[in-house]
């Protein structure tokens, strides 16, 4: 996708739905927008069918807002709740099978690099903890070991939300969820440690408590993946339904989980640090 694809053919604008008129006239494409600009422009995602008050939907909205070049970005997702909204966003979305998102992303990233050698294209995998730490696990790991230059964002609600509450590798030990009645028998998989071992250039773990931190984390992850190497963001996004969290308590839960065990963590390789410093310097000039 490029800006040119956003020009409506002469004479057709008046037939376009309002949403598309707004996207063309006041969308985020080709603009440098900040968190404080939210509400002043047409966002990539507005309507979606995810549950009321879902933290994952909130996180996705902010993550899409953070993309540095949405007109040059492809999102790869898969089965799971997140794709319900991701596939509706005004950005190319590729539905990988439930297991092969990171293989698909590898192919897309390499293909785009061949097709558009002068135009950086960002590829961002956004999928659930089941999709990435269970069935897609080997492809995530291999992508990292191969140092593929794309971003992986895990929507970690610590359960299979979309299929009614099976435990995932990211569920906490001992946790009883609707379709795991005897409780999880082993520890939450240490994806952060695995990412470190695999030499991922930028690793972050966060909760949706702080919108500007979500924006800056995703933006760093995408820019570093463009220039340096693979990046990984693990976001606690809860699940109101499977963990019985009333919508109005979702952020309270996120704050508590952040405080008690999730925290905010960033691990940045030396090369990525140098890249960010150069970016900052260029920004200040």
């Amino acid at each position: 996708m490029a800006l040119r694809t956003l020009q409506v053919s002469p004479g057709f604008m008046r037939f376009m739905p309002k949403e598309y008129q707004d996207l063309v006239e006041k969308g985020p494409f080709g603009r440098k927008l900040k968190l404080s600009d939210l509400g002043t422009y047409k966002e990539l995602l507005e309507e979606h069918p995810m549950c009321e008050g879902c933290a994952m939907a909130f996180f996705i909205r902010l993550a899409l807002t953070a993309l540095p070049a949405p007109e040059h970005t492809v999102i790869v997702g898969t089965a799971g709740c997140g794709r319900l909204s991701l596939s509706q966003a005004a950005i190319p979305f590729v539905y990988g099978n439930y297991c092969d998102t990171n293989g698909v992303a590898t192919g897309i990233k390499r293909g785009l690099a061949l097709r558009f050698p002068d135009q950086p294209k960002d590829v961002v995998v956004i999928a659930g903890d089941g999709g990435l730490s269970d069935i897609g696990f080997s492809q995530v790991m291999h992508g990292w070991f191969r140092q593929e230059k794309f971003t992986t964002v895990m929507l970690d609600n610590e359960v299979y939300g979309n299929t009614g509450g099976q435990e995932s590798g990211m569920t906490k030990r001992g946790e009883v969820v609707k379709m795991a009645p005897i409780g999880k028998q082993f520890e939450k998989i240490d994806m952060i440690g695995l990412a470190k071992t695999a030499g991922v250039a930028y690793i972050a773990r966060l909760t949706p408590t702080n919108p500007s931190r979500i924006i800056s984390t995703i933006r760093k992850a995408v820019l570093i993946a463009r220039e340096v190497g693979p990046t990984y963001v693990q976001a606690y996004t809860s699940c109101n339904i499977e963990y019985s969290i009333p919508p109005e308590k979702v952020l309270e839960d996120a704050r508590q989980v952040e405080k008690e065990r999730y925290g905010f963590l960033e691990i940045i390789s030396d090369e990525a640090k140098a890249f960010l410093a150069a970016q900052d310097a260029a920004h200040r000039e």
């Binding site: 694809t5 053919s9 057709f12 008046r14 376009m16 309002k18």
Partner: protein, 226 residues
């Protein structure tokens, strides 16, 4: 005919209509067209399309992304040819399919047609003849089958590639020249005395959603009747 008797007629055909290709319908070559599954000359195909567009209820053009977005040379001309066509069909509406992303929980059937549930737009607007142009073939095929399954709409496709067996009338390799040929055929039929069904409603009609938008108003689709 192609040596088989399967006819691709307006539906409703039921939940899972067979793909016409599985019933022996083959695609036409350049210079030919398909009418209800049978190979015809381009000219005969254009005449059928023109007649259906002038005589059936609520004719509607569904332009797809390859027409709506001026993404490369030539698109603006093709888009212009589509508007010329529209101007020759009295009472026609233009409802776009700007892309293929799903729209849930609810579409506005007066603003858009979506390949996940094209029947909603057809039903709501009581469309009994439509033209698809500029829709990528894969999504056109899905859309056409859903329309044939659940509606009585006569589907016409002006396809840039090989055409569509699942529409009632299809012209392959259709560029702006073919669109203009259809426009000319419509003029010809009128000259021959065919009085269009909406002869008293000249020009392109806007849907209520488009009308409201053009006046800067916010429009809500009517609530579903209980």
């Amino acid at each position: 005919m192609n040596g088989n008797e399967y006819r691709v007629k307006p539906g409703p055909e039921g939940l899972l209509p067979p793909a016409a290709a599985c019933c022996g319908v083959v695609l036409s070559e350049k210079g030919q067209g398909l009418v209800e599954g049978a190979l015809k000359s381009e000219n005969d195909t254009l005449r059928v399309m023109a007649r259906e567009l002038l005589t059936r209820q609520n004719p509607t053009i569904f332009p797809g992304p390859l027409v709506l977005w001026a993404w490369r040379e030539g698109v603006a001309d093709k888009a212009a040819s589509v508007l010329e066509l529209a101007h020759e069909i009295p009472g026609v509406r233009i409802i776009p399919m700007p892309d293929y992303r799903p729209i849930y929980p609810k579409i506005d059937p007066e603003a858009v047609i979506n390949p996940c549930h094209p029947n909603l737009t057809i039903w709501h607007n009581k469309i009994e003849v439509c033209v698809f142009i500029g829709v990528h073939c894969h999504f056109a095929n899905i859309t056409l089958k859903m329309i044939r399954a659940g509606t009585n709409c006569y589907t016409i496709t002006l396809c840039h590639e090989a055409g569509h067996e699942d529409s009632m009338a299809s012209l392959p390799f259709a560029d702006a020249n073919q669109v203009r040929a259809l426009t000319e055929t419509i003029r010809q039929l009128k000259r021959e005395g065919l009085r269009p069904r909406y002869a008293d409603t000249p020009g392109i009609l806007l849907t209520a959603a488009q009308e409201a938008l053009s006046q800067g108003l916010v429009w809500q689709p009517a609530p579903v009747a209980q």
